[in-house]
């Protein structure tokens, strides 16, 4: 399975035409303690760069954007009871939603793991 990354600090794990989406370890560290995640409803159609979810820390709310066009097929209900999963396991158990992609060519705009690592290092300089 291929893993892709966006400049908005999301990761996508691609399985056929479905992408599992979450926020990266770098993103959760920058946000701090997550206290609430608002997830999109199953069946909702999203356009790339549109609002997909909201993640709230003690201090502030941050938007999570859809990295690709598609339809939500599953949301991680575990995050309702335990939003801290995003801090503890951002790139595994702390996933946000699964989206059925309508235009797989949009994946070409995203970075691979090495590309994302270099992107983050560039931000920290």
């Amino acid at each position: 399975m291929a893993k892709k990354f966006s400049k908005e600090h999301e990761w996508l794990e691609i399985n056929g035409d479905v992408a599992t989406v979450g926020i990266t370890d770098h993103a959760q560290q920058a946000l701090g303690d997550i206290v609430y995640v608002e997830l999109p409803e199953v069946g909702k159609k999203l356009a790339k760069d549109g609002d997909a979810a909201v993640v709230e820390s003690v201090k502030a709310a941050s938007d999570v954007y859809a990295p690709v066009d598609g339809e939500i097929v599953e949301a991680n209900e575990e995050l309702d009871a335990n939003p801290a999963l995003v801090n503890e396991s951002p790139e595994n158990d702390g996933w946000f939603f699964k989206i059925k992609m309508s235009d797989a060519s949009q994946l070409d705009d995203l970075m691979d793991e090495a590309g994302y690592k270099a992107f983050v290092e560039g931000l920290e300089d």
């Binding site: 701090g32 609430y36 820390s57």
Partner: protein, 371 residues
């Protein structure tokens, strides 16, 4: 991320220590201030409630008023009874204006030969102009701009500070003493902005880092940033100037009637007294209240408050998540007929009306030391 060093920000005497401790520094009221340390906002908040936290609040203004008419002159600008304040006692008050609204909130201490004032960072320049323009009859304002201010807050704060200055143990809430801490001359008030027992310590800039390091070396003490300072004060139901009170709110609307005692209500004689005394007698149209969202979604400042019929009845002025109550919490203004605790309301968050309830403040009980 913005580099605070690049923006011509003021630095407090503890700036280098913040950097060394790994703080995330942000611009705040013109200063590069630590919003959090590696422990994180939630951890810092919970640590302060469990043990003791050290806060750098040197961005706040410290001034002294001298001159024999200082009390009467200051009473022209604040609705509090300063004449009754004995030496060594501290009082919370507010500068009002001709509209009866609030220019700033502040702490006033009778330091014996002077009044010692602590004012908000974002207001201090305007406050000083306002005081210099209005304090007559030989009253002189001295800016104590070479002093740092730190707060040591939490249930272990008194135990920790007494190791360096045993006499602070018996100091009561809202009292003041000039005392040496580990040989450093300090002004200490038993007060704070967390709802916990604790102290605010004014110290010469040149000695600030030494004192901070001494306190941080104690097992119970962690450095705490502005993020946790905000969540702690919100749980304690304390106003943040600029959010919860400002030049659009009167002390009566802000539920601060308690800062105006019987004598000042009878005599008036402060800016905006006609408006404020009228509201005290006849009520205001709206009031600051605690608001508890029913679900888990925090409602932030500027969130609209609706009654159960869907009408706009007010606005949240501070809102977030309270780590100690482990739930979202908020305060804001609602029309007076909806201000009673227990009233059900809705909060408009991201286009959805979400249920909430008006509640009494504070969310976390105050634990002040009253002797």
């Amino acid at each position: 991320m913005a580099d605070p060093q690049a923006e011509n920000l003021y630095k407090t005497a503890l700036y280098d220590l913040h950097v060394e401790l790994g703080a995330k520094l942000v611009p705040f009221a013109g200063y590069a201030m630590p919003v959090q340390y590696p422990l994180g906002v939630k951890g810092e908040h919970l640590h302060t409630r469990a043990k003791a936290g050290l806060f750098d609040v040197s961005h706040m203004g410290q001034v002294r008023l001298v001159g024999e008419n200082r009390v009467a002159e200051l009473e022209k600008l604040v609705p509090g009874d300063i004449a009754v304040l004995k030496p060594g006692r501290t009082r919370y008050s507010a500068f009002t204006n001709d509209d009866g609204t609030i220019l700033d909130d502040l702490m006033i201490t009778n330091a014996g030969d002077s009044l010692f004032l602590v004012i908000n960072a974002g207001c201090k320049d305007d406050d000083i102009v306002h005081m210099r323009a209005n304090l007559d009859n030989g009253v002189e304002l001295q800016e104590l701009s070479d002093r740092a201010l730190m707060a040591l807050q939490g249930p272990e704060a008194a135990n920790v500070l007494a190791r360096f200055a045993p006499d602070v143990a018996s100091l009561k809430f809202m009292s003041f003493v000039e005392i040496d801490i580990a040989g450093i001359p300090c002004f200490v008030t038993r007060s704070g902005y967390t709802g916990e027992d604790g102290f605010e310590i004014s110290v010469p800039d040149t000695e600030a880092e030494k004192l901070a390091r001494l306190l941080l070396a104690e097992d119970e003490v962690e450095a705490i940033g502005l993020g946790a300072r905000d969540s702690l004060r919100l749980e304690a139901g304390l106003c943040l100037y600029g959010n919860d009170i400002d030049t659009t709110t009167t002390p009566v609307e802000g539920d601060l009637n308690w800062i105006i005692n019987k004598r000042r209500r009878e005599e008036g004689g402060f800016l905006g007294a006609d408006i404020i005394l009228d509201q005290l007698a006849n009520g205001a149209d709206r009031k600051r209240v605690g608001i508890k969202p029913e679900g888990k979604a925090p409602a932030r400042e500027h969130t609209m408050v609706l009654n159960k019929d869907g009408y706009d009845i007010g606005e949240i002025t501070s809102g977030g998540f309270g780590p100690t109550v482990d739930a979202p919490i908020a305060m804001g203004y609602v029309a007076i007929e909806f201000a009673e605790p227990g009233t059900k309301v809705d909060l408009m968050v991201r286009g959805k009306a979400r249920p909430a309830e008006i509640v009494a403040l504070p969310f976390a009980p105050h634990r002040y030391f009253r002797g």
